[in-house]
Symmetry: C2
Subunit: 500 residues, 2 copies
């Protein structure tokens, strides 16, 4: 019997936002090394409470224990990653201009620049990642690391897990001596909207649907003082498979494709939703066989089940669609759908005519193979059909090369944040070089929500001019006690100086 | 007799935006070194046409030839600065994750991340910097350097200069072999609004009033596909002068203050608009004397003259205001105001009661000294009165130190982008460490429009996963022909890897 989770009121949200503002004063003044220790304390607490947290998550989301255990591990590693990132101090992008009395355009003063946290953040949790994009997930870890305080809006799909994860993290922070109010939680849409409007909140972040994300982005932009809103809203993650790739590795591609479409029941931001191939003929036998081996999987909740059910019916009913694997969909007593993968093929002309019915993201295990013919110009097709995606995947063979392929790679980079070769988009490394974000509608402000560069969402620059050494942040001083990397621009350089 | 400048229509704006999109394909593919040479070509052309450009600018803006010559020099230096910045390649923030078969959470692929240009930019020129923040000013230089194409919306205050500067720069680009359409110009508000709405345009930048900036920011946010809009909207640039500073350097401070308020007739974004001092008594004799030596200066145009006239009347009429230097204001036959500085003092309580009448920016040579009493808590005053400013200036003495001053410095950094000690805000170095931007309403998205970090406005990240060497941008290859700095994350590091 699930315990009752009470929704936060708008009044409570206002109090929580004010508390976040108060906590920011203390949290932002800690050294990076001090904040790093608190992040590690949260990671340790996740590890220590693994069994309980995974069990609640499995019950609320229907995701497998293996997947959830991996996700919890990743979430803990992610917190430690940001601890490492800030301990080094290179993220502060320290720049020191030496004073120069004989500058190109007159005198130049001593100027020292550092990045500082933007302020309290509201972070809207995702349905499909109850750990990695929720209470202490990526944006929370990056924001806390940057020196921002965080208020998390729990996702309605896993409220008990959200409350419990918050309790575990809060206890770890308190025991480690963190200021109160650094990480808070609200429940319910009303509180979430109140927060994005609240004057104490200086940044919004979000992972979810285009519809909800756009509403919140509009709220952030309509404030008396607009704030940055980093939303990940939707992506179909196109894949191109060349004839040469099919000839060389057709069977392996078919197997990997089915695994990528069906993993976590297709409820991944980077699921390959649309595949361009000259023809599906050489792949469909293998695809069909592999789908037959995929067990039934529950979708996250009733809302997502309804959405997937509707999209799947639209796809199956679209003119010219040929079913490769119809998949199954049955509802349980809670209204949750249990599904196996649906994979269809469609000719390029029918795909073109079908419009959004085949082009929009279907959140679940469904993918469309567009049979583009032998002479397809894949670069032109990417341009024609896609505005912005998290990823574009290219399966190419040894015979593929030259100007045609160069153009395809360029178009892929123009319309997405990650270009993948001969692998699949549904694994995202949490590393320095990762980019998880792309042009609209993949993200609202194109930036990354995964990897160490994600910390940049939560930072702004401040320059100190002609400051006495003891008035400078420690990282900007000549003495540089924490040995943070400092980029110096020595006197005698040719930069300019003028009046603004 | 000024030639007639025809306003661009919305239809022309659409054609220009489409041309910018076409040119972007070519411009963004050039190497950084190639783009750098084109920036230098524009700088050389400015230098070669200095006399003519300064003469048109002086006629249109009323700014002095000395000031305009300095500004043109700065603009040329700024273009060369960005040429140097991109030639080095560190701005690309290259990150290489080595493939790692034994990663913390499974296998890790080879991932390589680079920054790429966002796309065509519309850049709205400023009234007060006909060179440095106009056709080939800071945002244009940074955007072109990043690989974006640019459409400039000319400011109505200097249309002939805009057309001529654009012609000079275009000729230089063409002669150097640049693609057509890299830098274009439109005239008039209708075309400007059409551009911020146009689907080919991916970034907006702006320097001007809160009113116009907010309108454009709202347009950018309301698009079907919202785009980043970097606007610099307004700043009163508070100054704190401690009793110790007055005791040590009162006469010098008074002289420098008058110079900072009156330079370019106070029409600078960083003019010190509000000064907190325990009392103005020790300064006002010197201030008055120095103002008496400032000659009459024309304001930029009739709009700005009207605005300044109104604000000045409001300030002079506010309850409790004591005039230190009334200044003068007369209109010429074109409606332009000719002015000398107005400086007033007011007690803290009267300042508090006066609200926006004394607190809002007055664009022109006017500044308010707030007499805060001997026991003033300047940190609390900054907090009470200011939301966001480009700069905060602290004049302190040798006797000032300790917790009280630490708190003041922290609050200054919290509410502004540059904190200046014992100097004045109206000089902005165009250098790596400069920050010209601050919390709302100083800028819409807190970022810098001056200095090398300004290039970050125009870049987004793209990661390449498991790419064959010959499919990678040159800067990401092992061979690294241009020896761009590459930050490597070797196999064996502890980052994480999971499913998204």
């Amino acid at each position: 019997m699930p315990e009752q989770i009470t929704k936060s009121t708008a009044v409570e949200a206002a109090e929580i936002a004010a508390r976040s503002g108060g906590a920011f004063t203390q949290w932002s003044r800690l050294s990076s090394q001090e904040r790093a220790l608190f992040l590690v304390a949260i990671a340790d607490a996740l590890d220590a409470n693994r069994d309980e947290l995974v069990s609640i998550a499995a019950e609320e989301t229907g995701l497998s224990e293996a997947r959830l255990t991996g996700e919890l591990n990743r979430t803990a590693v992610q917190l430690r990653l940001f601890a490492t990132t800030i301990a080094d101090g290179s993220y502060l992008d320290i720049r020191l201009d030496e004073a120069d009395p004989e500058f190109a355009l007159g005198q130049r003063p001593d100027i020292r620049r550092i990045l500082v946290p933007r302020g309290p953040v509201v972070n809207f949790s995702a349905s499909n990642f109850p750990f990695a994009f929720s209470v202490v997930g990526g944006d929370t870890a990056a924001a806390l690391a940057a020196g921002c305080t965080v208020v998390v809006k729990a996702h309605s799909g896993h409220p008990r897990l959200s409350v419990r994860t918050h309790a575990v993290a809060s206890e770890a922070l308190t025991n480690a001596g963190a200021p109160a109010g650094v990480l808070q939680l609200v429940i319910g849409q009303e509180a979430g909207v109140a927060l994005i409007r609240d004057e104490h909140i200086k940044v919004g972040s979000f992972t979810g649907s285009l519809y909800a994300g756009r509403l919140l982005a509009d709220e952030a932009a309509a404030r008396r003082d607009p704030i940055p809103f980093y939303g990940e809203l939707g992506s179909v993650n196109p894949v191109v498979i060349t004839p040469a790739a099919i000839a060389e590795r057709g069977a392996g591609i078919a197997a990997e494709y089915v695994a990528s479409v069906s993993g976590s029941a297709g409820q991944l931001c980077t699921k390959p939703g649309i595949v361009f191939a000259s023809s599906a003929a050489a792949l469909e036998g293998d695809i069909s066989a592999h789908v037959g081996q995929v067990g039934e999987h529950r979708l996250l909740n009733k809302n997502i089940s309804d959405g997937f059910d509707k999209r799947r019916e639209e796809v199956l009913a679209a003119d010219g669609v040929r079913v490769i694997a119809e998949g199954s969909l049955r509802r349980d007593e809670d209204g949750n759908a249990w599904v196996t993968p649906t994979i269809v093929a469609v000719g390029i002309d029918a795909f073109r005519r079908a419009g959004d019915a085949l082009r929009e993201e279907a959140f679940g295990p469904l993918s469309v193979i567009v049979e583009s013919g032998d002479d397809a110009d894949y670069a032109a097709l990417l341009d024609e059909f896609f505005e912005g995606n998290l990823t574009t995947t290219l399966h190419v063979g040894a015979a593929d090369s030259g100007q045609h392929l160069d153009e395809l790679v360029r178009r892929a980079a123009l319309t997405s944040g990650r270009v993948i070769f001969n692998q699949w988009p549904t694994g995202v490394a949490v590393t320095p070089a990762m980019q998880h974000g792309g042009p609209w509608p993949a993200t609202t402000i194109d930036s990354t929500s995964v990897g160490t560069a994600a910390i940049q969402r939560f930072l702004r620059g401040v320059a100190y001019q002609n400051a006495p050494q003891d008035m400078l942040p420690a990282e900007l001083r000549d003495q540089n006690p924490e040995a943070v990397p400092q980029h110096e621009d020595p006197a005698g350089s040719s930069w300019s100086w003028g009046k603004v």
